[in-house]
């Protein structure tokens, strides 16, 4: 009897262990709560990690770990000679997820694609205002309603986008989160039930993971989508444990309460690296921090003055003090991980003596200026105040008196746009879609003066190059044009390019196959965990 009991217990234990081992769970300590689960409504990376990169797919996808694109739900496409018509052939037999809340009856077709875009583009679409006050931030911010003239269903599996003008970054745009493809069948059912708002609370797509549950501000649960068109994921369950404090994320990782987390404090990186159970991945982020001179105001309208000031500032010292080395000095306005980055360019050297001489030659003496420092920590500049203080000291050495000014964040963004702004404003940018246009034209183009172009810099030569690159879809040609644009930028020096910060990703060594993404996404497709 006794041995029978023991046998029974042993069997039960084996079964229990067996089932525990069979369910592979990866816990990711995410840094904040998602704003919602309809990616087209939002702009935050946290939301994209939680909604679009897990649950959804797009017609075109970013290659894992790259800013280049590859076929996604569209298996192929054709672009008309005038660059205005994009015809996408959809991948056949792509199943939408079957969940507790919805069972699809059909596979992906053209209706889903048209629905996913038209709701954002047409104000008379019944889904345009499914949550009152929706502004479709990205679609409208990128001018899609004007750019896209029509979206036509050629047949069930073919969709044609007609554009108002050629737009080279269009394919990259379609790989962005707001272009995620939703199920029209699911949307129709929600509408019929009067439950439209659930589209933003219970997402359903074709992606690698399907949504299980969200406890606000605490946990998001997903499980692997067994019908995923690229095959089921190696892990069974994916959990986002929302942990806003970076120091607490460190402790949770060390206690193995989560296996991977983003955005450690720079000060914690060394100790994480020295832990033998952990691995810390690092990569340059798709970002840049800069200080924009106001090129319309004397004496900053003179190239020599801007160049001289650039040579007065010791960037490496800023990187050491503010980032503890977790950044690289920037010489170009685009980050090194982006295609067309011009590595031939030589940065203005740190040379206070020469700087002094150049200022003298330019007839500038007793210069006083303002340095604007952001009041908040941003990924590309952790402590703008500290950086500004170092610049102030550097400038003093060449006889320039700098005063540091700052405003509350909202006010800072607004005031720094002003065309007659007094002083050089520190700011930065994180790329949206990996296209150089998203930096060069967005931040330095003539159209952006008084807006994103904080240097108020409108240079015909530069602008022509960038505009020309936008109008062609030959990538080799575009690369050449952008490389040239960077040369012009460096010659004219509208900015002091400060740094590209590094992005760290600490994880347990048991996590396999995680790839850091230059666009800043945290993707868990193809990630495995050893148990």
């Amino acid at each position: 009897m006794n041995s029978l009991t023991r046998l029974f217990a042993a069997t039960a234990l084996t079964l229990a262990l067996g089932s525990a081992a069979s369910a592979k769970t990866l816990v990711y300590c995410s840094e904040a709560s998602p704003e919602g689960f309809d990616p087209a409504l939002y702009t935050a990376g946290t939301t994209f990690d939680a909604a679009s990169r897990t649950v959804y797919n797009r017609l075109v996808e970013f290659k894992h770990g790259s800013t280049e694109t590859e076929p996604g739900l569209a298996e192929s496409w054709e672009i008309s000679d005038d660059g205005k018509e994009y015809t996408f052939k959809l991948r056949p037999d792509v199943k939408f997820q079957t969940t507790d809340f919805f069972t699809p009856t059909r596979t992906l077709n053209a209706d889903d694609v048209i629905y996913s875009f038209e709701r954002q583009l047409k104000s008379d679409n019944p889904w345009n205002q499914y949550v009152p006050g929706t502004s479709w931030e990205y679609a409208s911010g990128m001018g899609f309603p004007d750019l896209i003239t029509s979206i036509e269903k050629v047949d069930d599996m073919t969709v044609k986008f007609v554009l108002a003008r050629p737009e080279a970054p269009f394919l990259a745009d379609l790989a962005m989160d707001f272009a995620s493809i939703m199920s029209k069948e699911y949307a129709d059912k929600l509408k019929a039930d009067g439950q439209e708002a659930m589209l933003n609370q219970q997402p359903l797509g074709t992606g690698p993971f399907q949504f299980v549950a969200y406890q606000p501000d605490a946990v998001i649960r997903y499980k692997a989508n067994p019908d995923y068109y690229k095959g089921k994921q190696p892990i069974d369950d994916l959990i986002f444990a929302i942990t806003t404090d970076a120091s607490v994320r460190v402790q949770k990782l060390k206690a193995n309460e989560c296996q991977i987390f983003p955005y450690p404090n720079a000060a914690d990186v060394e100790s994480l690296k020295s832990d033998s159970n952990l691995e810390v991945m690092e990569q340059e982020g798709l970002n840049v921090a800069y200080m924009a001179y106001n090129t319309t105001q004397a004496p900053f309208d003179k190239v020599e003055v801007r160049k001289a000031l650039n040579m007065a500032i010791n960037k490496q010292a800023i990187i050491d003090a503010v980032f503890q080395g977790a950044a690289v000095p920037a010489k170009n306005p685009i980050p090194p991980t982006m295609w067309s980055y011009n590595n031939e360019i030589k940065d203005d050297p740190y040379d206070p003596e020469k700087s002094k001489q150049m200022l003298k030659d330019a007839g500038v003496t007793d210069l006083s200026m303002k340095i604007w420092a952001m009041p908040v920590s941003r990924p590309y500049m952790l402590n703008a105040r500290r950086a500004a203080e170092l610049m102030q000291a550097d400038l003093a050495k060449v006889g320039v008196k700098a005063e540091i000014v700052s405003y509350e964040w909202g006010e800072y963004l607004e005031k720094s746009k002003a065309k007659d702004r007094d002083g050089a404003a520190m700011l930065g940018w994180t790329g949206d879609n990996g296209d150089p246009d998203n930096f060069l034209d967005t931040l330095l183009g003539c159209d952006a003066v008084g807006g994103n172009n904080r240097a108020q810099w409108c240079d015909k030569e530069f602008d022509d190059l960038v505009k020309k690159a936008k109008a062609t879809d030959d990538q080799a040609e575009r690369t050449k044009l952008y490389e040239q644009a960077q040369v012009v930028f460096k010659e004219k020096a509208p900015w002091l390019t400060i740094d590209h910060s590094k992005v760290f990703m600490p994880m347990q060594k048991s996590v396999k196959g995680f790839v850091q993404d230059p666009l800043g996404y945290h993707r868990f497709d193809d990630v495995d965990i050893e148990q």
Binding site: T25, V27, A32, S33, E35, G36, L41, Y42, T43, V131, P132, G133, T134, S135, E137, S140, G141, A197, N200, Q201, A213, Q215, P216, D217, A218, V219, R221, I239, A241, I242, T243, T244, D245, S247, V248, Q251, K252, K254, A255, E257, R378, Y407, E408, W409, G410, E411, L413, E414, K417, L427, G428, W429, T430, A448, G451, N452
Partner: protein, 335 residues
């Protein structure tokens, strides 16, 4: 008693209106608006900015906005979050049980330790016990919550590995939310070990949240007791030959309790403030964390609705405290 109750409730109405004005004005005093904050570095085209503000109704004169908001409040409509697009009251009551559970545990710890510590310190005035209680209270009162929370995590979760780092329950347990109180829901779920896991997750955050109220309550109890112990009737009671326990427990403590109960009531407000930090450290999904996020996003409806709901809770607690006076001290009722 009824008149007393009615007069107390009548005071709440102007308070409520005052709170709603402050809540409404407060978030709008901050520079930056929701559209701009959402866009961050990305510049929003002025025409589009104006269109969105109009759509949200933020282009109307402030007085009109306020009155329409107040009208909504009277009908029980707290508005919709600009970010999550969910109802404010709905979000509040989803998250509130977590804050309440944590606050209740903290206040229980604070009262159970604070009142006896204060009583003994008063009775043994000047002793080493008194000195150390008051010393500890001073340290506790001055404790920076953020640092204290992290210190406890590093010590108890990191080095000793006695408690989990953060969250409300181990992620292994997954069951639907019934009451929103994890201690109750974990029992209802019937999953083995769930309740223990919920308790272990509560320990550190409750201690951290209890620290300041505990210090205040201990000090308040001590000084109230000292005052009462010097009163004539206590001397009379002693002279009558009553036991020490009776004199302290019945005659002195009951009278000393009035200021103590007031303090405990006031600590509920302090607790809400403390909860904001504590919840952030321990990833506790309560209203504190929710409010902070909303301020940064300039999510007007959430900030104002959240403030009003919190204020209403504090008002109700204070009303309860007022009523408790009546129970403890009948003279208050007559006034």
């Amino acid at each position: 008693m009824q008149r007393f109750l009615l007069s107390r409730i009548a005071v709440l109405i102007p308070t409520f209106i005052g709170v709603s004005i402050v809540a409404f004005a407060f978030i709008r005093l901050l520079p930056g608006d929701p559209v701009q904050m959402l866009a961050g570095e990305r510049v929003v085209d002025p025409a589009r900015h104006a269109a969105i503000m109009q759509q949200l109704g933020f282009d109307r004169p402030l007085v009109v906005q306020y009155l329409s908001y107040l009208w909504g409040l009277i009908q029980g409509d707290f508005g919709t979050s600009l970010v999550t697009k969910r109802g404010v009251a709905d979000e509040f009551f989803t998250l509130f049980p977590a804050t309440l559970e944590l606050s209740l545990c903290a206040i229980i710890i604070a009262v159970l330790l604070g009142v006896p510590a204060g009583v003994f310190a008063a009775v043994k005035r000047g002793s080493w016990f008194d000195q150390s209680v008051m010393g500890a209270a001073l340290v506790g009162y001055s404790m920076p919550i953020f640092w204290w929370g992290l210190l406890l995590i590093i010590l108890f979760s990191g080095v000793l590995q006695w408690t989990p780092v953060s969250g409300r329950i181990s992620l292994l347990y997954y069951f639907p939310q019934v009451t929103g109180f994890m201690l109750i829901d974990s029992l209802l779920s019937g999953q083995k070990g769930a309740f223990g896991s919920a308790v272990s997750h509560l320990i550190l955050p409750s201690i951290v949240l209890a620290t300041i109220p505990l210090a205040v309550i201990a000090r308040q109890t001590r000084s109230a007791m000292l005052e009462v112990l010097g009163e004539d009737y206590v001397r009379t009671a002693k002279a009558k030959g009553l036991s020490r326990g009776r004199v302290i427990g019945i005659h002195a403590l009951r009278n000393a309790l009035i200021p103590v109960v007031t303090t405990i009531g006031l600590q509920v407000g302090v607790m809400m403030a403390g909860a904001i930090l504590t919840e952030s450290i321990f990833s506790w999904p309560g209203i504190g964390k929710w409010m902070i996020d909303s301020v940064f996003r300039r999510d007007y409806p959430v900030v104002q609705g959240g403030l009003i709901l919190i204020a209403m809770i504090i008002m109700v607690v204070n009303l309860a405290v007022d009523l408790l006076y009546g129970v403890i001290n009948p003279r208050v009722r007559a006034g």
